[in-house]
């Protein structure tokens, strides 16, 4: 491993921390460790809705070799609770790799030495690394959900430089916490602030952009019962939250500027906010939004659809989930636990993987390793999901129809991965070659083939003397597109 000066510094400074992090797997390379886990594999279940596979696909980014068997022996409840706790230590290798990324470590203004592309690339690298190698799959899964729910377009207003902090202090910190804390944290994110123009929302004529999306996309949903008047009133409440431009003292952090704040009386969703509230107006707004019945309903609807797909199963789960939201003050763990344990999760409709999900899950399926660098990021661009680069505030779509029309770049990704031709990403081709067509199918699909898989098995058997092509083809199958 080649280390830059800064990286050496990071590691030496972080020595104490790294020691304390601990590492369950010892010092063996990650790939080797994972291959060992494969040895405990017992016979895999078959059929497209193999429940263990489905749970691993929904509660994380799919199985690594051996995970399906591990889950089967651990039991579903124990596994889900372990996921919900998200208390596993990060692998040491991952921690070291993340420590080397300036975009996660340094404040926005100091980061300005780096080009925007570099910052965006580092942010993506972190996301790929964490999703592929992180120890807490459900945390990574929910980070994907909330990152898109609270989407920030990195190429607007230098938001990329602020997104690292947003990702850590907002999304990751609260991904499995309480929704009101998450929402509140997001309103204190300078990345969100500049993305939705609130630094220009002043007393007088407000800028409505953030106020509108705060209700429409972040909390209530477009049919959540608010009016244009409410948008304007919330904008008044948010006025004065701006960037501190005093350099170097505060270096572009968020600040509340009373002279820019509209301190008159406001009415939001029928609730009066008395005059003179200043910065506290924002807390009032967050409280009003989170207590509104539409919030519990809207957040539950989105969560259910993300975890259960677009079928009647998700619709059935909305009201029970909203009830948990209301009873627990928006406890995300409490909301998703029953869903993860439900049969609807394993028998409901399939959901098409987004490209990031596909990339990560294929590498995981093969027990591969990646540094998350530019070459794999190039594939994400071609497949249509360069992270932090969806311009609109609604986040990347999760409808099958949005993605089914662009399978070709997915096939090309699968082919490049299957032939081990992606720089910075490694799979053990020799181990794959020794598996034969059935073993390869089981490894990639996480289950034994059944009658419906006959065409895939036929295609694999036909290529059994060409292991590279066989892996490419197995990774391109229709089943690999679904979670």
């Amino acid at each position: 491993m080649k280390l830059s000066r800064r990286e050496c510094l990071q590691i030496s400074l972080g020595g104490a921390t790294l020691g304390a992090l601990g590492w369950a797997g010892g010092c063996a390379p990650l790939a080797a460790r994972l291959t060992q886990r494969d040895d405990v594999a017992s016979p895999l279940p078959s059929g497209p809705t193999a429940p263990e596979l489905r749970l691993l696909n929904r509660s994380g980014f799919g199985p690594r070799p051996g995970d399906v068997a591990l889950l089967a022996s651990q039991g579903r409840i124990s596994y889900v609770d372990q996921c919900l706790a998200a208390a596993q230590n990060e692998p040491l290798t991952l921690s070291m790799q993340l420590h080397r990324l300036d975009a996660l470590q340094i404040d926005a203004y100091e980061l300005r030495d780096l080009p925007e592309d570099t910052v965006l690339s580092q942010l993506q690298q972190a996301a790929i690394l964490r999703a592929t190698h992180g120890a807490n799959p459900l945390l990574e899964r929910m980070v994907d959900f909330w990152t898109n729910h609270f989407n920030v377009y990195g190429r607007k207003g230098l938001a990329a430089y602020r997104k690292g902090r947003d990702e850590n202090d907002v999304v990751r910190k609260h991904a499995l916490g309480k929704f009101p804390d998450l929402l509140r944290a997001s309103t204190q994110s300078s990345a969100m602030l500049v993305y939705l123009d609130n630094q220009l929302n002043h007393k007088g004529i407000p800028n409505e952009n953030y106020a509108r999306e705060l209700m429409e996309l972040h909390s209530l949903g477009v049919h959540g019962g608010y009016t244009q008047r409410d948008v304007q009133e919330v904008a008044r409440c948010l006025s004065g939250w701006t960037l501190d431009l005093q350099w170097p003292r505060n270096r572009g952090r968020l600040k509340f500027e009373p002279s820019l704040h509209d301190d008159g009386v406001k009415t939001v969703l029928g609730k009066t906010i008395p005059p003179g509230g200043g910065a506290k107006d924002l807390d009032q707004v967050v409280s009003i939004l989170c207590a509104h019945p539409a919030c519990a309903h809207y957040i539950s609807t989105k969560l259910c659809r993300y975890l259960l797909g677009a079928g009647p199963e998700a619709a059935r789960w909305v009201e029970p989930t909203a009830t948990v939201f209301r009873q627990t003050g928006g406890d995300i763990r409490a909301m998703i636990r029953p869903i993860l344990l439900s049969d609807d999760l394993t028998t409901g409709p399939l959901i098409m993987k987004r490209p990031f999900d596909l990339a990560v899950s294929l590498i995981r399926a093969l027990g591969g390793v990646t540094d998350g660098g530019r070459p794999i990021q190039e594939h994400l661009i071609k497949m249509g999901e360069p992270l932090y680069q969806w311009p609109m505030p609604d986040g990347y779509p999760d409808r099958t129809s949005a993605w089914a029309g662009s399978l070709l770049p997915r096939w090309n990704f699968a082919a490049a991965l299957g032939r081990n031709q992606i720089g910075g990403t490694d799979i053990d081709l020799e181990a794959l070659a020794s598996r034969g067509s059935e073993g390869l199918f089981e490894l990639t699909h996480g289950r034994r083939p059944n009658a419906e898989d006959h065409p895939v098995m036929k295609a694999l058997t036909h290529l059994s003397d060409q292991p590279k092509l066989m892996a490419a083809v197995a990774l391109s199958s229709p089943a690999m597109q679904w979670r």
Binding site: L200, M392, A459, L463
Partner: protein, 451 residues
């Protein structure tokens, strides 16, 4: 300059001849006349509607005997994502309140001789954004028509609701079918010998207008639309893919089969060597590249019927500006790309219709950030050889404060589906407009030439 016309609730400006709305319903043998048009509208409506209908019959007859899929007419949609400011694209310089409400974020009048940066006069009332000068000649040659004050009935001012309504061909997002209007158009005109490449979306994701479409594919670029690898490997992988995707009945299996069919069709195409005609140089932007590839596909005659392109960045809450700001750059690319496409197409523009649209326009009053917030009435552009151009079509409601909607926005006075419907009927030979637009019967505006 604007004044109220007789007997109806809409306004017109008779200064420049841009209020010619013929209101003939686009039914095949029925002209609806339950409206109160302007004098000019009445004259044009009675004549044009009938002629349009007859020529339509001729066009359909031609289609029926046309051999295979060659030489089909093509629809190109350019969706300006984010709510493009219609009042900067097509400047109502005849409105005093436009300049009162926008001291900074307005485009100077063509009559403002003291400024180099000023609108290009279209008809004495409306002017084109100066950076759209590359398409100004198309207006004068009758190949560019502009519709102002159009949109859906969605009043949420949400990008996503408004886009969803428009891409699904419905009045507002909360109602109607979930598939896209182009998908329904394709389904209702399906033929057994259709090309696998009836519709292409340039980009990484499929727009909602094509949701549920068969024979449609999303791609970033034609040159990248190939299986990677050595020739021998590619052939084997392709064969294996065909095997694996053959039996399935789900969305992914369908899409896989179509992708493979498009790969076959593309084998006959070498997009890397495409040379634009007539000395055309496209901008190197996404839109310029996209339109260049549309031109390549049209020329290749692979049976393309619809191409969908996007241009984002129009949500100009901040620093929209006038001569400076983010808006001029966006418009510059739009104008140059569209002009290059029209030039490159040359005579083939006769079978192409480009529709430029956005989910909504923006508020009349500027905000404190030199930008504008979400509004209502938008502008649509039609470009093509069959377009009855050289006019701004508008039931102009006026911009005085009392003429705006309660939020202070330009009212929507033309349903966007009237524009799309007329194009589908007259240019793409689709008579089943009611299903395409979820029960709505589009009205004829007279945007398309009678041939």
């Amino acid at each position: 300059m604007s004044k109220q016309t007789q007997g109806s609730d809409w306004w017109s400006c008779d200064g420049g001849g841009h209020t010619t709305f013929s209101q003939s319903g686009l039914r095949c043998n029925e002209l609806t006349q339950n409206w109160m048009p302007s004098r000019r509208g009445l004259l044009v409506g009675a004549g044009m509607g009938l002629v349009g209908w007859m020529s339509q019959r001729t066009a359909l007859a031609d289609l029926a005997i046309a051999p295979g899929r060659k030489g089909k007419n093509v629809l190109v949609t350019v969706f300006l994502r984010g709510g493009a400011d219609s009042m900067s694209l097509v400047v109502p310089f005849g409105e005093a309140n436009y300049y009162r409400r926008r001291p900074n974020v307005s485009i100077p009048s063509p009559q403002d001789r003291g400024r180099n940066f000023r609108a290009l006069d279209l008809d004495g009332f409306f002017g084109l954004h100066p950076m759209l000068s590359p398409i100004h000649p198309l207006y004068h040659s009758g190949k560019l028509a502009i519709i102002h004050g159009c949109g859906s009935q969605d009043e949420t001012r949400s990008h996503f609701e408004a886009m969803s309504a428009m891409e699904r061909g419905v009045a507002r997002a909360s109602q109607g079918p979930t598939d896209g209007w182009i998908a329904r158009h394709l389904a209702s005109t399906e033929r057994s010998d259709d090309s696998p490449l009836r519709a292409v979306a340039f980009g990484s994701t499929m727009p909602d207008s094509l949701r549920g479409a068969t024979h449609a594919v999303a791609l970033n670029s034609l040159t990248e639309f190939r299986l990677e690898g050595e020739d021998a490997d590619r052939a084997q992988i392709k064969m294996a893919l065909a095997q694996m995707y053959k039996p399935g009945q789900d969305e992914v299996a369908h899409a896989g089969r179509e992708t493979l069919a498009v790969l076959d069709a593309m084998d006959r195409l070498d997009p890397g060597t495409y040379k634009p005609k007539f000395g055309t140089t496209y901008p190197t932007s996404d839109l310029g590249n996209g339109l260049k590839q549309v031109a390549c596909l049209v020329r290749a005659d692979l049976g393309l019927e619809v191409a969908c392109l996007d241009k984002g960045g129009w949500d100009t809450h901040v620093a929209q500006g006038s001569e400076l700001g983010t808006f001029p750059g966006l418009v510059d690319d739009l104008g140059k790309s569209l002009a290059a496409f029209a030039q490159d197409m040359g005579p083939d523009l006769g079978r192409v219709t480009v529709v430029v649209m956005s989910e909504f326009g923006r508020r009349l009053a500027e905000n404190t950030g030199l930008g504008t917030d979400h509004g209502r009435g938008g502008a649509m552009f039609l470009i093509g050889g069959g377009v009855q151009g050289g006019k701004v079509f508008a039931r102009w409601p006026g911009l005085e404060d009392s003429h705006l909607d309660p939020t202070g926005d330009l009212k929507v006075t033309t349903d966007y589906r009237d524009v799309l419907g007329e194009v589908l009927l007259t240019r793409l030979g689709n008579q089943a407009l009611r299903p395409v637009f979820a029960g709505y019967q589009p009205q004829s505006i007279g945007l398309i030439k009678a041939t």
